[in-house]
């Protein structure tokens, strides 16, 4: 089987020639690359999905508080919000779920890097929000939900091939930006079953996060990461809405990813996970850094 691709155009051509659907082809490719059968690949997708659902439940069960104090139960607050100002349940669930999973990550819980730890709430938050709001019969064992993960993975794989999924190499556009592109594409695929629509939604989403800096306070994966998981889940839903209305990205996905790579290369190293610029260098950021270097003397637990 030919498994090599480095663009969405190449991937979609391979899939079209093969005859299977995009997610079926991705599962077969993974089986080929890792020497297991397709059922084992699907079992592993299910296992990873279940881990994200467990993290989600944990994020809501009790307010998540990190050693630094920078993460402080935002998901629990969102969960308790009685009258959300935007009255759409898919929207509200997606924002809260994304934060819940990412808070568990920030507090040392078990998660799936999706595609990274700092962006780990966005794709599973969107998928579980869709499931809870639109298709309540889906579980981690449902091929349809697994297919959505495979579509998200295909989008992420193209970004990794043409650019990067590392904040240190490409800034936050490569982490939360990439995650939102993956999530919007996965939902567009659930909504339409059309791989072109998945990559169109991904292109729309990614364009709107180009240039996003990675400037974490004290170098910790907390500020702005945790709340950004909610913002970028929202970004993905805007892209989904535009795609559903038939709005096409003027710049195709592969070109958007190349632009992301070019922007990442132009960005100062101070804005790429080094905690030497942006929010990290604000007075608040510097105080948090000093507290960390002193070993968090004010922390209630270690």
């Amino acid at each position: 089987m030919r498994t090599s691709f480095s663009s969405a155009a190449e991937l979609l051509a391979l899939v079209a020639a093969d005859g299977r659907s995009l997610p079926e082809w991705m599962v077969a490719r993974e089986a080929f690359l890792t020497g297991r059968d397709g059922a084992a690949v699907r079992d592993e997708i299910a296992r990873r999905l279940s881990i994200t659902r467990t993290a989600l439940a944990r994020g809501f069960k009790e307010p998540q508080r990190s050693v630094s104090g920078l993460t402080d139960g935002a998901a629990a607050k969102l969960h308790a919000l009685a009258e959300p100002p935007v009255r759409d349940e898919l929207w509200n669930r997606a924002l809260a779920y994304a934060v819940a999973i990412n808070e568990v990550s920030a507090c040392g819980g078990r998660i799936v890097a999706f595609p990274t730890a700092g962006s780990s709430g966005i794709v599973p938050g969107l998928l579980w929000a869709w499931r809870d709001e639109r298709e309540g019969d889906l579980t981690a064992s449902s091929p349809r939900l697994q297919d959505a993960v495979a579509v998200a993975g295909a989008i992420g794989a193209v970004i990794a091939a043409r650019a990067t999924l590392s904040g240190a190499a490409g800034g936050c556009q490569a982490e939360c930006g990439a995650a939102a592109a993956m999530g919007s594409g996965a939902l567009a695929w659930l909504a339409s079953g059309d791989p072109d629509r998945a990559f169109n939604a991904a292109a729309l989403s990614l364009k709107n996060s180009l240039g996003l800096a990675c400037d974490p306070v004290a170098g910790l994966v907390e500020v702005p990461c945790v709340k950004r998981n909610a913002f970028l889940a929202g970004n993905a839903l805007v892209a989904l809405t535009l795609d559903s209305a038939g709005v096409r990205s003027a710049v195709p996905f592969d070109e958007v990813v190349s632009a992301m790579k070019a922007i990442g290369d132009m960005m100062s190293p101070q804005l790429k996970e080094s905690a030497e610029g942006g929010l990290a260098m604000t007075p608040t950021g510097l105080r948090a850094k000093a507290a960390m270097e002193a070993g968090f003397p004010d922390a209630s637990r270690s």
């Binding site: 991937l11 040392g108 078990r110 799936v112 999706f114 730890a117 993975g153 794989a157 968090f296």
Partner: protein, 225 residues
């Protein structure tokens, strides 16, 4: 570059908060423990560069302890690694090396283990998204990702040793994915690293150990479940 595998994008399964500062550190220390083969009597972990600045906030020390205890990087007991290390009597000296070394990746750690009259030093980098690269083993340059199972063979630099090792693996039906051998100087010691598909049988490892010029051989399990 060609697109990576699905589970490289959707993964790894890990304990937060940081794929490079937590998961990567856990993986490198897990590989160090497996390469050493037993609980070390003395251990020192030096965090370089970005890790030196942020290891406290990321729980990189817990991740390192978990790895040195032999806990798989996905194991949730990582959160209690300090308590587990206390119970097992594992004491690790953590050191910060703030000066940046242009020859090293910004997220690099050096692990030194001692015990039973043996010493092991491993330098590894956490290169993003939880992926790692062990770059040096006891002074020998290497490039081990931990994605695949591997066999490390320390041997004298003599004709036929590599053929002996690959012959044993071939006879056991083990496919070699990568192989690299480095020596300090001609005729001296050398390190052979063979990454394989699947898990090499214990009998094959014993046969490799029994080869004439082989000083030691160890199986490094994959860090991916």
């Amino acid at each position: 570059m060609s697109a990576p595998a699905l589970f490289d994008v959707i993964g790894p399964v890990m304990i937060g908060p940081s794929s490079s500062h937590t998961a990567g550190v856990a993986r490198i220390c897990f590989l160090a423990r497996k390469a050493f083969g037993e609980r070390p009597e003395k251990a020192r972990v030096a965090f370089h560069g970005s890790l030196a600045a942020t290891w406290r906030g990321h729980g990189s020390d817990k991740a390192a302890l978990a790895g040195l205890l032999g806990l798989h990087p996905e194991d949730e007991r990582l959160s209690f690694a300090r308590e587990l290390a206390d119970r097992e009597g594992l004491v690790v000296d953590f050191v910060e090396v703030r000066e940046s070394d242009p020859g090293l990746h910004p997220n690099t750690l050096r692990v030194e283990l001692e015990g039973g009259g043996r010493k092991l030093s491993i330098t590894g980098s956490s290169i993003g998204g939880g992926a790692v690269r062990v770059e040096n083993v006891n002074g020998f340059p290497a490039s081990i990702s931990g994605e695949l199972d591997a066999v490390l063979v320390r041997h004298r630099d003599r004709p036929g040793v590599i053929a002996g090792v690959t012959g044993i693996l071939a006879a056991a039906g083990v496919n070699i994915a990568t192989a690299a051998s480095r020596r300090n100087q001609k005729g001296d010691e050398a390190l052979l690293v063979v990454e394989v598909d699947g898990v090499p049988p214990g009998a094959a490892l014993e046969a490799i150990k029994a080869l004439g010029e082989v000083l030691a051989a160890v199986h490094l399990p994959s860090v991916v479940s």
